[in-house]
């Protein structure tokens, strides 16, 4: 091993760091996008919150959500879940499509770098910027909504968040592979995104859904991931007994990670056979 090459043990980290820095620099050099994300995220929340107040008891504009706690904080966490989930579908998932369109995907695949580091670097940047946006929205909610958002059980919340992020990385890898396969990614991405919002208890409890649909929700891993995070934040009761639900969340996170890596690899190999890595 000569001194001009990084040692094997550090290679993955250096690839990840390079990918993260590349993404971070590019992101902040599009000030319109930065400002846009910071402005539009609270706007979406406000827009839906206003619409929902039509259904609240006439005497008050907010209410308990299905007996589960304050409407605003309930929905706020719903929006946190949506922001996090959009990382998979639009952030990580579309990163490959963006690289393909700009012509840089082939350059990445030419290099002897681990494919996952491209995805992980993007994920890390989005995690950082999403955290800033969520923090900022929390502040706005306090200043203009008079609602202080607090997490009841921080350690459990962090564990839930870690499981959630693992799932997002895995699912994001799968979505990233999908963009190499399917040109009409936007349509599929939208369907998956809406499916997530309606079926996984992100914005309202799955108890509100018709029974057959509810059973379908219960086989979606993100239903439990949302549920355990909300439980840790707000103390809401869980769909399944707590330990079982955490076990389900943990197992599904690991399975999604594995599935994501395998799917991405298979799709990449297929793209090589078809010669479609560069096709946008």
């Amino acid at each position: 091993m000569n001194s001009r090459n990084i040692s094997y043990s550090l290679r993955l980290f250096e690839e990840f760091k390079a990918s993260f820095l590349k993404d971070l620099r590019s992101y902040f050099r599009y000030p319109a996008w930065v400002i846009g994300e910071f402005v539009s995220t609270p706007l979406w929340f406000f827009f839906f919150a206003l619409g929902v107040t039509l259904f609240a008891p006439v005497a008050s504009t907010t209410s308990n959500v299905h007996g589960l706690g304050s409407g605003l904080t309930y929905f706020f966490f719903g929006f946190v879940f949506i922001i996090l989930f959009s990382t998979s579908v639009w952030g990580v998932g579309q990163s490959v499509r963006n690289e393909q369109t700009s012509g840089t995907l082939e350059q990445f695949f030419l290099a002897p770098a681990n494919r996952a580091t491209l995805i992980l670097g993007r994920w890390a940047r989005i995690f950082l910027t999403d955290s800033l946006i969520i923090g900022y929205t929390t502040l706005l909610l306090y200043l203009f909504g008079g609602t202080a958002v607090a997490v009841l059980n921080p350690p459990l919340f962090l564990v839930s968040l870690a499981l959630y992020e693992l799932s997002l990385i895995g699912f994001g890898l799968f979505m990233a592979g999908l963009t190499m396969r399917i040109k009409a990614y936007n349509s599929i991405g939208n369907m998956i995104f809406f499916g997530y919002m309606i079926l996984t208890g992100a914005l309202f409890p799955i108890a509100v859904l018709p029974t057959p649909v509810r059973y379908f929700s219960m086989v979606i891993p993100f239903t439990y991931l949302n549920d355990v995070m909300r439980h840790a934040a707000l103390g809401t009761p869980t769909i399944l007994p707590l330990t079982l639900e955490y076990a389900a969340a943990a197992v599904s996170s690991l399975l999604m990670m594995a599935f994501g890596f395998v799917a991405f690899n298979r799709i990449e190999q297929d793209a090589r056979v078809k010669g479609s890595i560069a096709t946008s």
């Binding site: 319109a32 400002i35 706007l43 839906f48 619409g51 929902v52 039509l54 209410s63 349509s187 309606i198």
Partner: protein, 273 residues
């Protein structure tokens, strides 16, 4: 005039061929109004419980929640498509590298702007008819024929939206990043124009701003026509306002676009990626 129509037709067919190759976009547009409506219904039921419809009726005057929300959402989606396509169509061509080629051709730029978005708008309007038609046919079949005057209201409302699109096209030429900007603007419009709730829900000073947006009248009129069975004639007041907006917005929007375009020709903005 004949050459401009020819050019418009050419641009229209180019766009149509593109859409036929990517039919997924049609499907998503068909589904989005329903998806947004299901979302708000789910959230509403979570908050209002078994009395959710009653609380809704107290505030809106109707228990026909599904049609009420689908009309609002459909107009919002259509408005989004019009503004984005006219506004961002130029940016799309810029990214593809074909904008300069388009501008080199001896085609009136007004025609080009309209043409770049015409296919999407025609398709979106047709899909709107399908979405609203299917919903009304299922929920209030007795009012099915009201979708005709409702659609005419939408068509009138499209004209000022074109004008807004020209305005954004100008900003896009200057600032380059249209989509996030248009997303924010469309969100603000959705909030101000009564997509999910009556405009009277908003503070008075906000309602004043809502009053200059064409979508406000389109959504409200459509709800009155389809749900309350009112006639076009009875809504002459808001039609007059819509007509005025249909004159004002395109004039102002195109004037702003031309000004920015002239400046862009000096600074070389069109070539800049």
């Amino acid at each position: 005039m004949k050459r401009d129509v020819q050019a418009l037709a050419a641009i229209f067919w180019k766009g149509l061929k593109h859409h036929i190759r990517y039919p997924g976009e049609f499907v998503i547009f068909l589904l989005l109004p329903f998806l947004f409506t299901f979302l708000i219904l789910g959230m509403g039921n979570a908050v209002g419980g078994t009395n959710a419809a009653e609380y809704f009726a107290t505030r809106t005057g109707t228990t026909n929640i599904v049609i009420y929300e689908i009309l609002g959402t459909s107009v919002w989606m259509t408005s989004w498509v019009v503004i984005e396509d006219v506004g961002a169509g130029i940016r799309d061509e810029q990214i593809k590298g074909t904008l300069e080629q388009n501008f080199l051709a001896p085609v009136n730029h007004f025609t080009l702007l309209i043409g770049l978005s015409l296919t999407d708008i025609v398709i979106t309007s047709a899909l709107f008819l399908i979405v609203v038609g299917v919903s009304v046919a299922i929920v209030i079949p007795s009012n099915f024929l009201t979708i005709v005057p409702a659609f005419l209201t939408l068509l009138l409302g499209l004209i000022p939206l074109f004008g807004m699109g020209f305005l954004f096209a100008g900003f896009v030429v200057r600032f380059k990043e249209p989509y996030i900007f248009i997303q924010i603007v469309n969100l603000i419009f959705a909030t101000l124009t009564g997509t999910y709730y009556p405009v009277t829900f908003l503070p008075y000073w906000v309602q004043f701003v809502s009053g200059v947006l064409p979508q406000t009248y389109v959504i409200d009129d459509m709800r009155r026509i389809v749900i309350a069975n009112q006639t076009l004639v009875s809504l002459y007041g808001s039609f007059f306002i819509l007509l005025t907006l249909a004159l004002a917005y395109p004039l102002v929007g195109y004037a702003v676009f031309r000004k920015i375009e002239k400046r862009a020709a000096v600074t070389g903005e069109f070539s800049k990626y």
